[in-house]
Symmetry: D2
Subunit: 333 residues, 4 copies
């Protein structure tokens, strides 16, 4: 009988370097030698200090290769974010707002439910709930605002449903129940992600129209938040806040084997080092806590606060384009 | 055009001393001279340092007189709770567990959803969410625990749905959606209450099988959490954490008029002081913040933590009678 | 043997309407019929939506009449602050920065220790510690910043010493020990205040060069933070966040007696209602928690966050005039 | 010009596996082949599910070899703590209380200042401040408690001084200033530690009479909290909450080289893999965040709360042996 590790949602296997970023999955395949991934298109452009990339998974073959559902995955990379550069924060916010507007593709009257996934009691997992705290929620205001404002005021609702380990309920079931009752036109799910590379922590934002699967990138599509389960489009918005400790360990081993091979010390046995053997080595280093260990910056509490400001600001701007925050906030409270 | 004051849920009218406690509503009627309230039965007993009382509203006439839905309202009063007396905390916990078991009246296999009402970002309103944080949630564990344990393990789920001002959604709608999807046999709603008398703050626990109406004791029954709206029984559990500032002002005026009358200074005009005139006086003292002002102990942050421990402990004991917290907690995490 | 109520610092007597605002003390004396207060000068001017007033206590006679130490007390009143108006926040910030610069009156090289008084675990008392959290602290950076920046970078240090009930030590003793060791040129003490009038809660900022006496406005000067105890000038900066429940009760009684007198119902006994009798009445309404009850807006948690942003922003601007926050923040972390 | 990374205190070098535990330093030396460490004595005993060990550094030679000041380092290891076993928590608490009493070795009238080191805004570093929150502080109560209690009531004060990055002041300077003013007979410093081995995270408590050096185990003795700097004995009490990501990476590389050598693949080059080369490899894996990355359990927020309960409970019991928590708590508040 095994114990369910369900308070936290990352269930990281010992045999792979897990990532929630489609960009990194593609990189792994490409670095693995695969030039073209059938069913997957990729574009990248530099905009000042930002790099915007798009991974389009447009066929079931592509989805299988990538281990992610079909759809568009947009990544905004801004390595300078870790230096708390305000001008850069402005650029990221503007770019994120624009990408959200394009990806949502909804009329001004469409109603939106924003869902903050994650556990607000576990710092690196608390990004979703903290974004929810800062949203301009308007669904309940229609009867109170002046008529000329009401016409332009999108009905936005928001909630942080908690995680399986603290609610006893699948997040999908909670959101499905609420959608059935309140019928929003679109769902936006905000979540903290796991990356493969430490330099993407807190410097990368991923948007997607493919929905989200809390707790895993691969698993059963029926348990995720997407158009199939919720009956309406689901936009996912996330930022990596952790890397699995297993990833660090695997990468270190790979760095050594690469190094030895570069030095000409390859007598065949290094190539033959199987995944099973690597797993065993890492198990020795990380056991017994292994899969529950995460790598995160010491300053993660502060970074989470800053990211919550950036993401909520972009969401507010994208959801209420015709109205200033000032105008709305007079009717809130 | 008025602004909705919906971030916080107490909407206190200027013309009455609002209370969520059935015990206090009854007191007001009785002190008002009404010996017998038709449709309402009352019982009270002392148990050591506790006073246990029951208000039974058993007819529509009683419900109208009391301004509360029909049902049983049980109050445990323990004035010593404000002194942080551990032995007393034990007595209250045991009594609360017993009363919960009796009021729930469910078989061991019945599933329960516990709902923590209130705004966790507003200290005196955060009791519900803080109780949820400490609950032993088990609904998701059935497939993981040993068979002999599973048979005795009640499926308990829990959530803190937030408040209208921060979600844009009526709490009732959120819980209705979740109940329709997950079908618990019973709902327990935990909430911070408003009292009329300052000495009931943090010293009194009210349980009821009449459900709860977040934000008011009187309003529209269709907007509350009860068997009509949720399709299953709803137990309400709450503790007063605030008194309206308006109540303090009104009581002070009443204390003066009582005093003057006792002193023989009654020339008729004091009796003639209308509610309208009292309202006007209080408006002068409290305006412009009036209805948003609450009276609470300086130590409320600490009291809320202690109450969350007491209430969650009693709920855990009442919901999982056959199993120790130890046994369950090995499967949680 | 009485119990010390020292976790929280407001020890409010039953016989007076306590206020930390010099402006309100003066109002009480003036409304009490005193046209001129010897030893006290008063000036007031409107600046847009702000009212700036100065109370100068310039003689021991004035200090005795006011119950406050000699010095200048500046008040910025902005009733609109409770509506969360951003343009107004900008005006208050700018005005507060200007007043701080004038009141501090120090050369660019003078070092400053900012002290956040109050209990961060009690929401309305947590303003001081929350301001400290947002300060640009620079004392330790001198060896790391570029030479041209170092010349203009004031050495600012900061701390939240806690309260007597949680440390067991007088705040004055802690700060005195630190000053003796680290020798700052100026101390700034930030604190949450108690007002007499509810409409000054969160809408008024008081600055003073007279220092501060944590826990009371009157008491022993040797226990306060001031030039006598710390050996260097002390600027006090505070915002009222609570009114004593006793004040509300007293004001309500006064409102009724005023009303009755205005209605011609004065048969002498109302004037004769002594302070002792009023105290007794209030004791009936508020007992047994009386002196520990405070009146505060339901949204106080949110207001405290907003005030911490305003005060820390003004302090940062006043303390580091030649350098942008951007420039400093790159060296912090 | 380099930036000071001083908000957080662990400054981990790339070339070593850093640990705050004397036990682990000794292990590294012993596993490195050194049977006897001159100037260091070691004892270990099993007590039920606990392992108690003592490292005594009794000569300057031993201090140099260990990189730690002379003194006694006691370690209580309880691997089961990560399973939240309540009976085990009791055993650890009792053992910790006993060891504290022995190590403090003070008369009942000696006064104690407890210092909670670390940054309460950074979860894994917040253990010290959280312990302080739960201490029974009594120094200010002497005049209020009954005479017969006062004779047995030790004067305990407590404070969380913050960290250099948020105060601008060295912790040592703050505590030195306070000690000079208030003159406690003993200082106890509580801190979160870094371990080398992941299975010691949250399962090991270290006590020492050698004082503590916030931010490093080796550095300048004049900057630490010890009898030389504070002029009175300093007991250190800590629990590891993180491992450096660099340690994980180094250990993974070492695990691979060990494995290859065990497999007979040793052609000499593996032994020749210098520390410099390993550093370079790890720099590739972890750059650019490297030294700021920490490895910690996903559930660290919860573990910190539980550890704060254990440590504060043991401190309260050790500091107030003749008086129950009940008796004291009636006088607090």
């Amino acid at each position: 009988m095994s114990r369910p590790k369900q308070t936290f949602r990352l269930s990281l296997a010992y045999n792979s370097s897990y990532t929630d970023l489609a960009l990194e999955v593609r990189e792994q395949l490409v670095y693995g030698g695969q030039r073209e991934i059938p069913g997957v298109a990729f574009r990248e452009k530099r905009m000042g200090r930002l790099t915007i990339s798009e991974v389009d998974i447009f066929s079931p073959e592509g989805a299988k290769a990538m281990g992610k559902p079909m759809g568009r995955y947009i990544t905004i990379e801004a390595p300078g974010l870790k230096n708390r550069d305000r001008a850069l924060v402005q650029e990221v916010s503007q770019q994120l707002t624009d990408q959200l507007v394009t990806l949502m593709n909804i009329p001004p009257t469409a109603s939106v439910l924003v869902v903050g996934l994650g556990n607000w009691k576990a710092t690196p997992d608390s990004l979703g709930p903290k974004v929810i705290n800062r949203l301009l929620v308007t669904r309940h205001l229609h009867d109170y605002v002046p008529r000329e404002l009401a016409g332009r005021l999108r009905a936005v609702s928001a909630m942080a449903p908690g995680v399986l380990g603290t609610t006893g309920m699948e997040t999908k079931d909670i959101i499905e129940g609420i959608c059935a009752k309140l019928n929003p036109d679109l769902v936006i799910a905000v979540d903290a992600l796991a990356a493969r590379s430490v330099d993407r922590i807190i410097t990368t934002v991923q948007l997607s129209n493919a929905g989200i699967h809390p707790g895993s990138g691969v698993g059963n599509r029926r348990a995720g938040l997407n158009i199939l389960t919720l009956g309406r489009p689901v936009i996912a918005l996330g930022v990596p806040t952790v890397v699995s400790a297993i990833t660090i360990a695997l990468d270190s081993i790979d760095a050594l084997t690469d190094y030895l091979q570069r030095q000409g010390h390859n007598y065949g046995f290094l190539e033959a080092l199987s995944d099973q053997q690597k797993r065993q080595l890492i198990y020795e280093v990380l056991d017994p806590m292994g899969a529950n260990l995460m790598v995160t910056p010491k300053e993660i509490d502060m970074y989470i606060e800053e990211l919550a400001v950036i993401l909520s600001g972009a969401l507010n701007a994208a959801l209420h384009p015709g109205i200033s925050e000032e105008q709305i906030s007079q009717y809130i409270m």
